[in-house]
Amino acid sequence: MNRICQTLLRQSYARAPLTSNHVAATATRCTRWYSADASPPASAADVVDKSTLEKLVRTNKVVIFMKGNPQAPRCGFSNAVVQIMRMHGVQYDAHDVLQNEALRQGVKEFTDWPTIPQVFIDGEFVGGCDILMQLHQSGDLIEELKKVGIISELLKAEEAKQEPNTEEKKK
């Protein structure tokens, strides 16, 4: 079972878009998550270095380092973050740290944050699961997303409720 998963992940990886120098430049931009990019540098360093991470966290407005991938999170905390992003309809880049120990250590050192998942908005570290959950519950996440030009699906739903006739007017 595990081997099948790994094979699938590797295939998705092969199709994943360019996010760092280590990924083939010919990859097409179709999927939005990456299972194992930022593969260990040729120098066999123990961690993914700062400059690589600085690029990685800016490949999309929202970038998440998690365990597993959005379709199959392998940790409850990572899953919670995925579900929150799904509720808000956010498109993001996700990186599976379980596929890459160097990335896992690298991102922890980069943010000086001990746990995974880690969420970046507009290149800035926002927090882990607890913080995302609190931002979600307080409504602040909608505001944070708005700042970078992402309109939350929850906000759209809210506005649709307030203006029930909008749809009809369009017709």
């Binding site: 409850g76 905390f77 000086d112 001990p114 746990t115 570290f125 926002v126 927090g127 607890d130 609190q134």
Partner: protein
Amino acid sequence: MSKYNSKYLEDKLKQELEAKYVNVVDESDGCGGKFSVIIVSEAFKGKTLLQKHRLVNTTLAEELKEIHAFSQKSYTPEEWEKVQQQQQQ
């Protein structure tokens, strides 16, 4: 198996952060690997959400190496009062 338990974490957080209220729930079924914590302290005043969490992470830096699942809710006394009011409603 970590060597930490709820009582230890509660005492440490109360002492180091001068917390008014700490509630540690051991969700690990006794193995000491998973905790959920509520902390209320004046030390969080004026800090952003991220700063509050960082403060707690720093306080428990050693412990978090062994505790692999740690969930925290960190409030100032004022925020905590609001949270409790909401819960009562």
